[in-house]
């Protein structure tokens, strides 16, 4: 691989976007790539917009993905998929968690949660995977698994061996939840 791969992960503060990119960048490093990652901390805890850029390849300079250059976007929330869709390059792939998180400001005049974010996204690309990760996580018995399920979906767009993914997940998730998280990852990976 001599081209740099660009992955953008987006969501809302508190959803675990930063942990997901942490896992992804470790996986790419373990797979032997150079990797750079960029995000801005600060007010992320407080329900704000969170976006995190991961770029990997033989030799990566910029940690920022230019507008319109993302190969893959993973959106933890529907409106966030719409907000960041302009980052996707032509024929890029986006995976979207079906979840909606309506911000409190939607109760004020003049602010509305978007009508149908998925439809807007589909107008821009045909490569859309929709997944109800919240439901799958519930079925697996722990709502906190959303994160790993979504990484599983993302993994199908990247050519990195499953072994590396599961090894890094085992190392990084809280003790006692390793097998459950691997199961969640594989459920996401098998999702079509």
């Amino acid at each position: 691989m001599n081209e740099t791969k660009n992955v953008l992960i987006v969501g809302v503060g508190g959803q675990g976007v930063l942990l997901a990119t942490e896992l992804l960048s470790t996986v790419t490093m373990e797979a032997g790539y150079d990797v750079k990652k960029s995000e801005v901390h600060g007010m992320a805890q407080r329900g704000g917009v969170v976006s995190s850029h991961v770029r990997f390849g033989d030799n990566v300079f910029s940690p920022l993905i230019p507008d319109g250059e993302a190969d893959v976007i993973l959106a933890f929330e529907q409106a966030e998929a719409q907000r960041w869709i302009h980052y996707l390059k032509d024929n890029g792939t986006i995976a979207i968690n079906k979840y909606k998180l309506v911000p409190p400001i939607a109760s004020m005049k003049g602010f509305n949660y978007p009508e149908d974010p998925i439809a807007v996204v589909r107008k821009r690309t045909k490569n859309v995977t929709l997944i109800d990760a919240v439901q799958i996580a519930k079925d697996l018995g722990n709502p906190r698994l959303v994160n790993t399920i979504l990484l599983g979906v993302l993994s199908t767009s990247l050519e990195i061996s499953e072994d590396i993914w599961t090894r890094v997940i085992r190392e990084r998730v809280p003790k006692g939840t390793e097998e459950l998280n691997v199961k969640a990852f594989l459920a996401g990976r098998a999702y079509r």
């Binding site: 490093m29 600060g42 805890q45 329900g47 300079f61 920022l64 230019p66 409190p104 400001i105």
Partner: protein
């Protein structure tokens, strides 16, 4: 094989402190610098502390390096304004043990009130300034910077920017090298800055920076990467990565040290290319120094000193200069509902700002989470400038109006201890009849929950003193001090009202721990959540006015077609503020 990790620039600086034998590190928190000390504190080999403000952090660090300790002090860019007095005079003294001053600048103002370029401070005080481009360099430059500091007996400015601080890349780990602390060697002509000594010191400073300028010509901190297209670009820091990304075949002079500049190296570099550009963040600092030297180059003609640079902006500037066709074609953006930051569920500031609005106070506010109280629908906050300003601004307004009635200065506990006490002392002495509210949540919340002298715990988790804020206020001469619970709206409103109507100076301390930090609080403040009784709710939306993330519109409507509210019980901490504003008692604690 050496162990590799993916580190943020801040984690890498902390690792550099460990590996390069640092002894002492001090700081006052401030985005994007905060994680440096948070990570240094994990190494017991290094003494680390949160000081009450940047000036004190700087002073403690000076003392340490006077003893011959390898020392670092960290702050955000505006923190250096607070420490500037010490910063300037420290240049005269030097740095016997090695001394790095980390300034974390915030181009684009991701979380700051301005975007000053602190390289000007380096030139102002004649400090050499070093700037890493990624995490590996962020670690290595700690060692190189300390070597530079010790070799020339000079303090060194270590400039980071948000993208370097919070960007992550691969770092190779090494072992710690131990160094002895050499001990204080009394020498009044060196350590006592008096006019007579200062007159001897100043020429030495100028000679020192001249020698460093020579050294700059050969240091590995600066390097040339030869290209093939005739274009020469001088760059630094995070911007270097964008330049390499956008124009890999340009010749690049990467400056790891941006002050003083290696003028001969640059002159030779200029001769080796057809066209020379300077691409830098933020101000034309390098560019202007080169133009003074008569070196032909362009920078601000094609780029700007506003905001941070990106690969797209670097490419667009080169295109504007007529030497490049930008490969990027930005796509149209969707306009989507914003998610502005608001107070967390259970935040103790909510009741205070709701009451200030109700009481129609003129609010001179300050810097912290509580600044968010100025946003609608709470909308209480008329001025905010810099840390500690609230009380002085309130006094000034009162003097101009010849009355302090109705003026309320609000200040967080960390900010009060940082630089509010002197303001209060002055308000007492001036007999300014304003109201001062200290929003005491026992922590520095805005920057992610760092301890301060009122927290009762230190950076490393040791027991702290836990200063009593009411006693401080008493000691500086305030007589009228009330400590109240901001969850109790009736009490908050009436105490404020009384104070606002009085001609005397009043101090109100709203006392409730932060709902988010420390993490144990999240359980501590958790009480049984509330729910909206849809049989009673009249859809008046009074509860929306408290601006709580747990409250939203439900799908239920009243007979008049107004939407009823609902409360997310997973988010609700049970603080009860919304229940107190409901005119029909429709919000009740879940039984």
């Amino acid at each position: 094989m050496k162990k590799k990790m993916i580190f943020s620039g801040n984690e890498a600086v902390a690792r550099g402190c460990y590996e390069h034998g640092l002894h002492i590190a001090t700081a006052y928190p401030g985005t994007p610098s905060t994680e440096i000390l948070e990570n240094v504190s994990k190494y017991p080999e290094i003494y680390s502390e949160w000081s009450p403000n940047e000036k004190v952090a700087f002073e403690v660090a000076m003392g340490a390096t006077f003893e011959g300790a390898r020392t670092l002090v960290a702050m955000k860019h505006v923190g250096l304004n607070v420490a500037a007095d010490a910063f300037m005079s420290m240049s005269f003294i030097g740095a016997p043990g090695g001394f790095l001053v980390v300034t974390a600048d915030d181009p684009g103002m991701h979380s700051s009130q301005n975007e000053q370029d602190n390289r000007y401070y380096a030139k102002f005080a004649e400090y050499p300034c070093i700037e890493p481009s990624d995490s590996q360099e962020a670690k290595d430059f700690v060692g190189l910077g300390l070597d530079l500091s010790i070799e020339f007996d000079t303090p060194v400015m270590y400039r980071l920017t948000t993208r370097v601080c919070h960007g992550k890349s691969i770092v190779e780990l090494g072992e710690r090298t131990q160094y002895p602390i050499t001990g204080f060697k009394p020498n009044p002509k060196k350590f006592v800055v008096l006019p007579s000594h200062g007159r001897e010191m100043h020429p030495k400073v100028m000679a020192r920076i001249a020698r460093i300028k020579e050294w700059a010509e050969t240091t590995p901190l600066n390097r040339i990467e030869k290209g093939s297209n005739g274009i020469g670009i001088i760059t630094h820091g995070a911007t270097y990565n964008f330049v390499k990304e956008v124009m890999p075949d340009a010749s690049v002079l990467k400056l790891g040290m941006t002050y003083p500049l290696p003028i001969n190296m640059i002159k030779d570099f200029a001769k080796s290319v057809d066209k020379l550009f300077v691409i830098e963040e933020l101000e034309p600092f390098i560019e202007n120094l080169l133009k003074i030297e008569g070196i032909e180059c362009e920078g601000m003609k094609f780029w700007s000193n506003l905001g941070e640079l990106t690969p797209e902006i670097v490419a667009a500037g080169l295109e504007k200069a007529g030497v490049f066709k930008s490969p990027y074609n930005p796509k149209e953006k969707e306009s989507v509902i914003p998610r502005p930051p608001i107070f967390c569920p259970g935040c103790p500031h909510r009741g205070l700002y709701h009451s200030l609005r109700k009481n129609k106070a003129v609010v001179t506010t300050d810097i912290g989470c509580y600044t968010l109280g100025c946003l609608e629908p709470l909308g209480a906050g008329d001025t905010c400038v810099e840390m500690g300003a609230s009380i002085g601004v309130g006094v000034g307004m009162a003097k101009a109006r010849k009355s302090g009635k109705g003026i309320v200065a609000t200040i967080g506990d960390s900010t009060f201890l940082h630089s509010g006490i002197t303001g209060l002392l002055n308000a007492v002495n001036d007999k300014a009849g304003i109201t001062v509210v200290i929003a005491d949540n026992s922590i520095t919340a805005m920057t992610g929950g760092q301890q301060h002298p009122g927290s009762g715990e230190t950076l490393t988790g040791a027991q702290g003193y836990k200063v009593n804020l009411a006693k401080i206020c008493q000691a500086v001469g305030a007589d009228n001090i009330k400590v109240i619970d901001p969850y109790n709206l009736e009490q908050t409103r009436s105490t404020l009202k009384e104070a606002m109507e009085s001609d005397e100076l009043s101090v109100i301390i709203t006392n409730r721990p932060c709902a988010l930090y420390p993490a144990e609080n999240r359980k501590l403040v958790q009480e049984t959540p509330f729910a909206v009784d849809h049989d009673k709710c009249i859809g008046c939306h009074a509860c929306f006015k408290v601006s709580c993330p747990a409250i939203s519109e439900s799908d239920q409507k009243t007979a008049k077609g107004l939407t009823k509210s609902q409360i997310d019980s997973a988010l609700c901490t049970g603080c009860s503020v919304c229940a107190q504003v409901c005119p029909v008692n429709a919000i009740e604690r879940i039984k």
